[in-house]
Amino acid sequence: MNDAPASFRYVGKARRAREHRRFIAGSGRYVADVELPGMLHVALAASPHASARIGAIGRDAALALPGVRAVVTGAEIAAATEPMMSGLDLPKVLRWPLAVGEARYAGEWVAAVVAETRPLAEDAAELLDISYDALPAVVDPEAALRPEAPAVHPAHGSNLLYRRKFTWGPVAEIFAAATHRIQYRARWHRSATVPIETFGVVARWDASARLVEIWASVQMPKYSDQIARALKLPGNAVKVHYDIDVGGSYGGKRGLKHAVLAAYLARRLGAPVRLIEDRLENLRGGDAHGPDRIFDVEMAFDDDGTVRAMKMRALDDVGAYAGRAPFQLGKPVGAIVGPYRIAAVEYEPISVTTNKTPEEAVRGFGQAPTNFAIETGIDLVARRLGLDRIELRRRNMIRRDEFPYTIPSGSTYDSGDYDAVLQKALAAADYPALVARRDAARAQGKLAGIGISCCLEPSGGNSSFEPLLNPKNETTTWMEGCLVRIDAVGAIVAAMGTTSAGQGHETLLSTVVGEVLERDPESVRAVRADSLWALPSNSPVGSRMAIMLGAAAANAARKVKDQLLAIAAHRLGAGAAELSYRGGDVLLASDPARRITWDALVDIAHRKFHLLPPGMEPGLQALAVAEVPTGGSLPGPDGRVQMYPCYAFEAHVVYAEVDPVTGQTRLGKYVCGHDCGVMINPDIVYGMTYGGIAHGIGAALYERFAYDAEGQLVSGSFMDYLLPSAHEVPDIAIVDHCTPSPHTVFGQKGSGEAGYLGAPAAVASAVNDALSPMGLHVAELPMTPAALGELLAARDEEGK
């Protein structure tokens, strides 16, 4: 189905990213750069309590400040708008942009102040006199499930949002007959994507057109539809401008409540309104924390290390409200056995609400925590049997000749050569030398270790987890559109209907369209249609754009190419099969002297209707809408489902030393073997992979949204929520391998989540290898210096 890599002109070649020119010059256009005449600014008053009934809101002092235009509360918003959409079927768990009646987490926005400047709005927000009756809060997700726990949403009746036990294959029989079993708990504490740009939105209401315009720092499927529903407007009354540069997202920038609030305020006040989170609003009230999981796992295995079956219970704390976040328990169903031939699986996802900041999507949509939980078990099996961790993985891996391979949960992995990738990574790391280095360090009394992880990166972003976790939802498509146009002077424009947050989609479009039309990608201009231009998009989620936007762009370009060939066939009086397309010119294969040039074909299409084949529309443009390969069907009654179409693979090898006094982990050599099929732009793939590894190092060692027992966030600044800097991220080497996907245009797989899916597991593996001579094992992330320092100090104490 795909061409051999060697045959590409532009795909896979080093090429400067088209969008970078404006960024390096400082002329990117981010949402905070949008300046509209008469624009007003929003500041937010936040609940100081994790749970409280909201009483009177005294606003006189705030409104008395010159330049303050309005103070808006949850009651007003609730009367004017619909609750925001929930992913699960939860009719009693209602959510508005501002707290309505009760505040359910510390930092929840209670009132919005609008003023002529942001400093003035902040001054006024401090003058609000809000009375609260504090209520008991529930912070721990396991405590939240006990009958005596206070209900976060009393109308819902309990704090359990979702629970189902899936059984795929003879799990009980295998466990009953197993030679060995292990049981362990793996804890993934909440961290998030935390882009350097906070979320922001500018909204304008055009009263004469009856139209809301939105500029937002967003990465969100079906954003305009959801804004329209919440505002009780027809879909065509919301125009989201997608030509806004987004300063990083990695899944997290969803910003629905921000847009609904800003649009409501803009309409009410008759002026453009800007809401840009400050860092505290972002970390505490931006509703973008990540998965917060407790995994209880059992594995059944043989003497030789063959893992036969797994039971996994995954308890996820989504915080105070549920949007799309609970679906992050569903996506890992599509790769629930990782790269291993585990024949039977029991999976029990449990979604719980607590009085904490709501969860939102994070890079990998739940796959990175799941991969960490699986890999923790694989290392523990090796430790139990005294087997080499690498050998154990090789024994269990799906082999190259077993693809396509269907896992117990019903997803079929498209292609791969996991062992080859692992071997390449080990070779690049010079594994024997790394072992010698570790052993020499240990001989000097150091805590040194090597980490290994082998993880899958499902890609192609379908949304099958929606019907899987919500039977009322019958979504079976997650389409993507592209329009390709050749103008009257022969220049090419390719349009997409989404923002980008650094993934290089303008480069993707120009490369793919250039490849198909055999035109220099530098000559292809990529543009972004706004949401009214009827270009369906589901945004760059789920590592999908190389596959989906790539398919739409290639298909649209092929349609235009077919039109060029048809015009030429008509002019040359030849059949299409007799023609050859060369760089935009069309010639007779049997007589290359007879040709029509690109310029002539363009001229005919745009100006010379009398020379067009009968019935052909004038002009040169085509729209293509791609459906997700392998998509289109609902999950079976047992929950078996084809989740995503393509499966990339990554094998990480990392060296670490843990300081026995401070608990600080220092990473040394880091190698990532990576196979995402054909790379359309290698630099972009490498960049996202390096960045994903850095993000994974943060999740593994530093980043945590920690709460105290009363539900106060204690990491609300970058002094406490620690992002890895150039000092913490080591020099990383990536080793490529290419197993093309059979499902895609060029053999590409997705790659936007690469690195992050395997790095936390690898770093944890390295730390545990370092701790293994002491008989210690940690399965809790992040392994902060404080956490490891305490563990080691306690160990010293025991030894005395």
């Binding site: 997202s249 150039a726 690195g755």
Partner: protein
């Protein structure tokens, strides 16, 4: 709020303005001068996105009041290129080696690296990491940034050969 007259030079151009005492330098640059290339990331001096050169040295413009910039020379990312159509060797090296993705931290990174190269024409990898250690990037994992600064240094030393590009 007391207002103050300030006079300073920004990207080679003399500027005078009347600003509130509490206005930060980054707000002044972005909102008053409309130099939006300098970005706001954390507003508490950790992320480095708002870095500009003040008297040739990188400062976090979120931690400097506009009134403190009185009489100083400020260079922002818009002032790094030789002219409106061109790029500095450092900027071009960032582009060549894909040392950015979303572009949000990039202006601050360029400022930090520019200051490094002004005082050290042949920085080691450690020196480059030290120089950008106060600038957070969430996209790149820093590797391609380190490589790009190194490439720029080689090019600026005059060894601008084709083989230096990769």
């Amino acid at each position: 709020m007391s207002q103050h007259e300030i006079a300073l030079t920004v990207n080679g151009r003399a500027r005078r303005a009347r600003v509130p005492a509490r206005m930060s330098l980054v707000d002044f640059l972005r909102d008053e001068l409309r130099l939006t290339g300098t970005h706001v990331g954390c507003e508490h001096g950790v992320c480095g996105a708002c870095s500009v050169l003040m008297e040739g040295r990188p400062v976090r413009s979120c931690l400097v009041f506009a009134v403190q910039a009185e009489g100083t020379e400020i260079i922002t990312v818009e002032g790094l290129a030789p002219d409106a159509e061109g790029l500095s060797i450092l900027q071009d090296s960032f582009w060549e080696l894909h040392a950015l993705q979303c572009g949000y931290c990039t202006p601050g990174m360029l400022i930090a690296a520019h200051a490094l190269l002004a005082r050290n024409s042949a920085p080691s990898e450690d020196e480059i990491r030290e120089a950008i250690g106060g600038n957070l990037c969430r996209c790149t994992g820093y590797k391609q940034i380190v490589d790009a600064v190194s490439l720029a240094a080689r090019r600026m030393r005059g060894a601008n050969r084709p083989e230096d590009a990769r």
